[in-house]
């Protein structure tokens, strides 16, 4: 028996990529901030990252998310948020001086991967199943 309710269902690949994007978005800078002395943001981002990583790897969570009927515009908003934030980060990386103690290369790498994962998550929205 199909446990799905009527409404928009997002494919599992969307949830996996979305959780992976959030994990990359939060865990990598969280770990960096923990080591660079920004303990408060470091702990918050690391904790969010661990939760996102668990959601990425957990089969039961993914199944539950896949079965939920969700608002498609909200899913679109998430993708837009990821892409806009990644672009802002890229701009920050470019504006940093090359001799800066903050590595613009690392920042650009993080932003680029976030941009790719955000784009890939957005591509999954094409497979949204309309209400049954």
């Amino acid at each position: 028996m199909d446990s799905r309710q009527a409404g928009n269902h997002l494919p599992r690949s969307f949830w996996t990529l979305a959780a992976l994007s959030v994990a990359w978005w939060t865990l990598a800078p969280g770990a960096y901030f923990l080591f660079s002395g920004e303990a408060a943001w470091g702990m918050l981002l690391s904790a969010l990252g661990v939760v996102a990583l668990v959601a990425t790897l957990s089969n039961p969570i993914q199944l539950k998310l896949e079965a939920r009927a969700v608002s498609r515009p909200l899913a679109l908003l998430f993708v837009v948020t990821v892409i806009v934030m990644a672009l802002t980060e890229l701009w920050m990386a470019i504006s940093f001086a090359s001799g800066s103690p903050f590595s613009p290369g690392l920042l650009a790498l993080h932003a680029a991967l976030l941009l790719v994962s955000g784009g890939a998550t957005g591509m999954q929205l094409r497979q949204v199943q309309p209400g049954m």
Binding site: E38, L74, P101
Partner: protein, 234 residues
């Protein structure tokens, strides 16, 4: 598609088999033990060497540093050139520290496009400690460290705001019932907008801070050159 998978699996198996032999050899685990060498019986046929005591050579003491000593280091490896210091104020690019075992002498360094440049100065050099009407090397260094800390805080806040907004939106997406779509969308838009606003604010502030940091570093380089001129000048 199954053929590709089978090929990939075969490649993986070959890689693992090869690594069974390659890794222990590469890491030295499979190198011969000492017992292997102990089996060789070698009796040297060499006449006993008569040893005569030769006079002791003159000992060469440690390198003595004096104010005005300078040395340079190529770009990217300042920690290899730097002698031992009691403590370090600053980082690999710009900083100072008291030379270990030579109280009263301080090593200062700056970095430009040609590499890192070191200079030994007296600890009571006014250009280093305090200058009337101008910032000394130490004061400029302190300002630079404050600016770096400020930039770090802005970057962390920017990251935190952006990521938190993203987490709120995905949380709403995962938890909101579809029937409350408009309400959740408005909440998501508010979170996203607030997050983006804070990211942009912090990005602008950190960009301005970077400009101030560059100015401070130019000031530090200028003070370093002044110190060279004062020490080595007539």
């Amino acid at each position: 598609m199954p053929q590709t998978k089978a090929k990939a699996r075969l490649g993986l198996v070959v890689l693992i088999l090869v690594s069974f032999f390659a890794v222990p050899i590469a890491t030295g685990v499979l190198s011969p033990g000492t017992s292997a060498y102990a089996q060789i019986d070698f009796t040297p046929n060499v006449a006993t060497l008569e040893v005569t005591v030769s006079p002791e050579p003159a000992t060469i003491g440690p390198l003595i540093r004096t104010p005005g000593d300078r040395f340079d280091c190529p770009v990217g490896m300042p920690e290899r050139c730097r002698p031992e210091l009691v403590h370090i104020i600053g980082d690999d690019l710009f900083g100072w520290g008291e030379l270990l075992g030579e109280s009263g002498l301080v090593l200062v360094w700056i970095t430009d496009e040609t590499g890192t440049h070191f200079l030994v100065v007296s600890a009571d050099d006014p250009q280093l400690t305090s200058l009337p009407g101008a910032d000394s090397f130490m004061e400029l260094m302190e300002l630079r460290l404050d600016e770096i800390k400020y930039t770090g805080e802005r970057i962390a806040e920017g990251f935190g705001s952006g990521a938190t907004a993203g987490v709120v939106v995905i949380g709403l997406l995962a938890l909101c019932p579809e029937t409350a779509g408009v309400t959740c969308l408005l909440a998501g838009l508010t979170a996203g907008g607030a997050g983006l606003g804070n990211v942009i604010r912090n990005a602008i502030l950190s960009s301005q801070s970077q400009n101030r940091l560059e100015e401070l570093e130019l000031g530090i380089i200028g003070r370093f050159r002044q110190m060279i001129l004062t020490i080595t000048g007539p």
